[in-house]
Amino acid sequence: MSDTQTPPIIKAVALRKDYGEFHAVKGIDFEVMPGEIFGMLGPNGAGKTTTMRMLSSISPITSGRLFVDGLDVEKEPRKVRDRIGVVAQHDGLDPDLNVRQNLITYARYFSITGKAAQDRAREMLEFFGLDHRSGSGIHALSGGMKRRLTLARAFMTRPKVVILDEPSTGLDPQSRNRVWEQLNRIRDAGATILMSTHYMEEAAQLCDRLVIMDNGEILSRGTPDDLVMEHAGSLTAVIRPNNGNGLAVRSALESMGKVVRDRGASMVVHGPEQLRGELGQIDNATVRFRISTLEDVFLNLTGRELRDE
C-alpha cells in the first residue's frame, strides 16, 4: 500500500480461530476502509459471528493479527472496545431496565453520563423510531423494535467503527428499508460499518464492498456490482424445460458452449446481454431473462442455497 492511501480502519491478517479441533475461521485476510459499509455474507456457520467476536475482543484469536483503528486487538482490547459499537446476533438487552435506561446504562461504560447521555438517548430513540417507547419495558417491545433498540444502543457512543451482526434479521420490510436508510445516513456522517447479513438484497443495496464467506474462508470479495459481473455476468437466463425434456435441453445448451447450472427444477445460464439473442429459441423449454444478482454469485460460489437462520 502506498503512503498516499488512507490506512484501513479494520485489518485482519491470516486471522484464524479454532475451537479445539474445529476450524471456525481459517486464516482470512480483509481490510475495511474508513467510512465504508463492509459486508460479510455467508450461510450459517460461515464464521461471521466468530470473526466479529474476535474483533470485539470477547473471543481470543487463535493466530493471525487483527487491528482496529491502528490498535492491535490482542494487545489493547479495551481501547478497541472504547472505539466500537456492537450489535450482537442476539439482542443482549436488559429486561430489568426500560428502553431509555438500557441506553443510558450502556453509555456509562463509555463514560457518557448525565445530560449528555440523556440527550443522546433521546436523539437515538428518535432516529430509530422508538421515542414513543422510551419508558417501555423490553418485554413489551416487538422483535423488530428490540432490534432497533440494539442499533440505537450501538450508536449511543458515536463509535468510529460499528460491528453489526445481522442487524436486520427479524425486521419487517418497512423497518428493514428504514434501517438501511439510517445506516446509510450514519455512514455518510463518517462512521465505518462492518455488518453481516443473510439478505442478498441488503448486501447489494447497502454495502460498498463485501466478502462472501463459507466454512471459515473468504470465497470472493469486491463491490456488489463487480462480484456479480465476475461470477454471474450481467444477465441470467432461467430455463425451465418442458416435461421430460431436461436432458435434451441441457445438451442443447451445452452444445452451444454454455455452462449450465441446476437450480431446483430450472437451469440457469449466465452471460452478457447477447444471451437474449442466443437463447431466444431453445426448443421444449420456457426461457426467462433477468438481471443477475448477488444471489447468483452466492449460489455459484458455494453451490448451495443461502439458508436463512
Binding site: Y19, S56, I58, S59, P60, I61, E74, K75, E76, P77, R78, R81, D82, V86, A88, H90, D91, G92, L93, D94, P95, D96, L97, N98, Q101, T105, Y106, R108, Y109, F110, S111
Partner: protein, 264 residues
Amino acid sequence: MTSLATKTGIDFRPSNVYGVWLRHWLAFKGGWLIDSTAIVIEPLFILLAVGFGIGRFVEGIQGDLSYQEFVAPGIIAANAMWPALFNCSWGAYQRMENHKIYETMISAPVNLSELAAGEIIWGATRAAMTTAAVLIVAMILGLLSSPLAILILPLGFLVGLVFGGMGLVYASIAPTQHSMMLIFTLIGTPIFFFSGAFFPIDSLHSGLQPVAWAMPLTGAVHVARGLSTGELGLSHLYGLLYMIGLASVFYPLAFILLRRKLIT
C-alpha cells in the same frame, strides 16, 4: 491472550464497577416494592417465629441470654446471606446465559474484574438493606443490648460480599439453569442452619464443630452475637478476618472463572 494490563488487573476502571452497581440500583428501583417485601418480611417472620414461637420453649441458652437475645443477632447476620447469594447466583446466571447481558457489557469497555466487583458489591448492598431492616426491628424489640449492635450493619455488608462472591463462582461453573437450585438446597440451607444462628456450635457433636466453624457464615454469626452483647474477644477478630479472607478469595476466583466461561 488477554493483555498484560488485563491479566494483572492494573487496567481497572472503578467507574465501571459503579456503572454495574447503578444498573442494579435502577432495576431494583423499578420493582422495589416486590423486592423489599421479600427481603424484609421473610427475615422478620423468621425472627418472630423462631424468637418468640420456638423461643418460648427454650431455656436460657448461653449464660444469661434469653433465647430471643441469642437468636436475634444470629438471624440478622445469617439472613444477609440470602439476597447476596440469590443476586449473584440465580440472578447472575439469568443475566449471563438467558439475557446475554454480560456479553453486552464486555463488548463495551467493561472488564470482567469490574463486572464481578459490581455484581458482588450490589449483592452486598442488598444484604445490607435486609440487615438494616431487621436490625431496626430487633433494636425496637430490645433484643440487642449493646449499642455496638449497630455495627451488625457493616457486618451484613461483609456477609454479602462473601456470599455474593460465592454465588458468582457457582454461577460461572454451573452447567445448567436447573443446577442453579443446588446452591440453595445443598449449600445455602445447611450453612444457614448450622452456622450457629439457631443453636450454639458447642452443642454439636465434637467432630462436627470444626466443620461448622469452617462454614462461611459461622464467623459472622459469632461476631454479630459479640456485637449485640458487647462482649468481644480475640475469637471475634478471627471470625471477622476469616470472612474478609473468604471475600478476597471468592472475588478473584469469580472473575477468573467468568473469563473462562465467557471469553471463548
